[in-house]
Symmetry: C2
Subunit: 354 residues, 2 copies
C-alpha cells in the first residue's frame, strides 16, 4: 500500500495529535510530501513531541482548519487529505457543547468548502467515530446500524461526516469516512482525562496506580491498535472508486473493560484493576457494549486488524515508558530549550504560507 | 384534541412564520396562553400579518431562539414548546451553509439547553423535515429510512433533531420530532423564491403567470395541508409517552409535480403549467420522488391527513386572493400606519421580559 504515496502531496489535519502524528510519520516514511495542519487547541491532544522523529521532514501549519485563509495555498495541488482534526471527548462535549460544535462541525464545514474550492475532486479520508451509533441494537455493529448518538460529540462528528458524504454525492470531493472504534497505541494523549478510558488506563499503569474500572466492567469494546488504523487510512487514501464510503474500523477482539484493564495492569509494574461505582455523570452517555463488524472494510479495502491486544498493549507501554516525560505531563507551551530541539520542524503560520 | 390546551402556557418558536402562525392561531382558539418567539430573520418567512387575527391574544417576542437571555423568564412554567423556528430553504443552504448552520443548529442548541435549564422535562415538538432522507431507497418512505441529506439544510436540521433525541434519551426534555413533507396552505411565504416549489407555484397562479415545471415533472410528492400538520403538532403536544419519538407527516396523495402544477393552475384564473429545462444548480439537490409512509403517526397518534389536495389548493388560493397585498409583497419593515393596525400584538423585546 505504502508505495502509492511516494512523492504525493498529502495533508494531515490534526497531525500533531495521536492518530494524525502516527499517520504523518508513516507518510513521511512512504516518501510523501507531508503538511500537517493542527490548531493545537488545548485538550485535543496535540503534542509537539509526537512529530519529533520526522522533524526535518514535515511542514506544520499551526491553524484551526476553519481558518482556511492560513493554508489555502497548500490545498492547491494536494493529492490526498487525511482529515483527523477535531475534539474526540464525549464528556467534554456535554460540558461545553458549543465548543464541540465549533471544533467538530463549523471548522469542518469551512475546511471542506475550502477543499472544494482549491482542490476539487480530491480524496479526503475523515476520522469519524463509532460513537455515532449510540447504544447498539445488536452486536457486532455494522455500518447500517441506526445513528443515535448519546452525546453532543456524536451529533457534531456525524454532521461533519454528513458534510463529507454530501460533497461526495455532489461530485465536489471524493470522501471516505472511517468510523473508528477505541484506538490506542504510541502517541496517545494519555495525560488528558477526557479523551477516553484507554488513555486513562495506560496512564494509571505507567504511574503504578490502580486502574479504576467503573462498575462491573462487563461492557465489551474492540480496542484497535493505531498501526491497524493507519493501515485503514492509507488504504482509503488510494482506494479507487470504493463501492461504499463509510467503513467501520475496530479491533479483532471483543474484550470487556475488566479484561482490558487487567491486560494493561498485568503488562505494567505494580498496577492493578480496581472496581469502583459507575460515576453518575457518565452513566447517561455510556453506550453499553460495542464491537465493530468490519467485514465491509475487509471486503472492499482488503483491510484486517492484525495487532493482538496483548501485543499492542506491550508496544504502547514500552513507548510511553521510554518517552514518559513527554506524555505524562507534556509541555503545552514549549519553553525555548525544548523548542530548540524541535527547531527543524518547519512551522509555518499564516504570513509564511499564503 | 384541542380541549387539552385550555389555560396551558405554550411557546411557538417561529410563530410569525407559515406553520407557526397557523399553529399559534389554533392554540389561541383552544384557550392556550400563547407566546411566540420569532427572530424575523430575513428570508425565513416571518410575516406580521400572519398573526393579525389574534393580535390581541398572543405575546410576540422578537428574538433569535439562540438569544435565550431575552426570554428565559417565559420558559419557566411553560407546558408545551412547539419548536418551528428555522430556515427551510435547501437552495439557500447551499449558497450560504454557515448561515444555515447558525440558524438551524447553533440557535437550536442554545434554545434547547435553555429549555433544559428553565423548563426541564417539558414536551417539545420539533418541526423536522423529510429532506433528511435524501434520495429514497423505496417508496413510500418510513421513519427507518437511512438519513442521507442532499443539502446542508438537511444536515443541519438533522443535527437539531438529534439534539432533541439526545436530550430526550437523557431525560432532560421530552421531545417529539415531526418529519414534515411539503406543507402548503394559508400564510405560506409565497413571496420567497427559496422556500420550496409549492409557494412558487401558488404565487405564479395568483399572478396569472405560467407555473414553471422543471423537466418532465414526473417526480412524486405528497403535499400536506397545513390544517393536517397542525393536527399532528397538537396531538404531539399532549401525547402521553409515545412509543416512538419521530413521525413522518405527509399528505394522503402521491402526486407528480406536473399534476400539482396543473391542479394549482386550474384552480386559478389564467395560469397554466409550463415545462422548462431542469436548472443545473438544482439538479444535485433534487431528491427525486418522495412520499411518506405515515402509518406510525396513524397508529400512535391517531393522526390521519384529511384534506384532499384539490380542496386544499382552493382554500389556499382563496386566502391568498383575499390577502394578496400581504403575501405577494409583504412589508419586511412595517411602516408606522401599518404597525398601528397591529398595535395590539403584544410585542416584547428583551427589556420587558427578563
Amino acid at each position: 500500500m505504502l508505495s502509492g504515496y511516494q512523492g504525493k502531496a498529502v495533508i494531515v489535519t490534526g497531525g500533531l495529535g495521536f492518530i494524525g502524528s502516527n499517520l504523518a510519520i508513516q507518510l513521511v516514511e512512504a516518501g510523501a510530501d507531508v503538511t500537517v495542519i493542527d490548531s493545537m487547541v488545548s485538550g485535543c491532544g496535540a503534542n509537539w513531541c509526537n512529530l519529533a522523529q520526522v522533524r526535518n521532514d514535515v511542514r506544520v501549519i499551526v491553524s484551526d482548519i476553519g481558518s482556511t485563509d492560513q493554508f489555502a495555498r497548500v490545498l492547491k495541488g494536494v493529492d490526498v487529505v487525511f482529515n483527523l482534526a477535531g475534539e474526540i471527548s464525549h464528556s467534554r462535549s456535554m460540558e461545553d457543547p458549543e465548543r464541540d460544535l465549533a471544533l467538530n462541525t463549523l471548522s469542518q464545514l469551512r475546511f471542506l468548502l475550502a477543499c472544494r474550492e482549491h482542490c476539487p475532486g480530491t480524496r479526503v479520508v475523515y476520522a469519524g467515530t463509532r460513537q455515532v451509533y449510540g447504544q447498539q441494537e445488536s452486536l457486532p455493529v455494522d455500518e447500517r446500524h441506526p445513528i443515535r448518538p448519546l452525546d453532543f460529540n456524536g451529533v457534531h462528528k456525524h454532521a461533519a461526516a454528513q458534510y463529507h458524504q454530501l460533497l461526495t454525492r455532489r461530485g465536489d470531493l471524493d470522501c471516505i469516512i472511517l468510523r473508528l472504534s477505541n484506538v490506542y497505541g504510541p502517541r496517545m494523549a494519555i495525560h488528558l482525562a477526557h479523551q477516553g478510558f484507554l488513555g486513562v488506563y495506560f496512564r494509571m499503569a505507567l504511574e503504578g496506580k490502580p486502574i479504576l474500572v467503573y462498575g462491573e466492567g462487563e461492557q465489551l469494546r474492540d480496542p484497535v491498535h493505531v498501526e491497524d488504523v493507519l493501515d485503514a487510512f492509507l488504504r482509503c487514501g488510494t482506494a479507487r472508486e470504493p463501492r461504499h464510503r463509510i467503513f467501520n474500523i475496530g479491533g479483532s477482539q471483543a474484550l470487556s473493560l475488566k479484561e482490558i484493564a487487567r491486560t494493561i495492569a498485568s503488562s505494567s509494574r505494580g498496577s492493578q484493576a480496581l472496581h469502583v461505582p459507575f460515576p453518575e455523570e457518565l452513566r447517561s452517555i455510556d453506550i453499553g457494549s460495542y464491537y465493530s463488524d468490519t467485514l465491509r472494510a475487509q471486503r472492499e479495502l482488503g483491510w484486517m486488524p492484525g495487532v493482538l491486544f496483548e501485543d499492542g498493549v506491550r508496544d504502547a507501554l514500552a513507548y510511553f515508558s521510554e518517552h514518559s516525560k513527554h506524555y505524562l505531563e507534556p509541555a503545552t507551551h514549549l519553553s525555548v530549550p525544548e523548542m530548540e530541539t524541535l527547531r527543524h520542524v518547519k512551522t509555518l503560520r499564516a504570513s509564511s504560507v499564503s
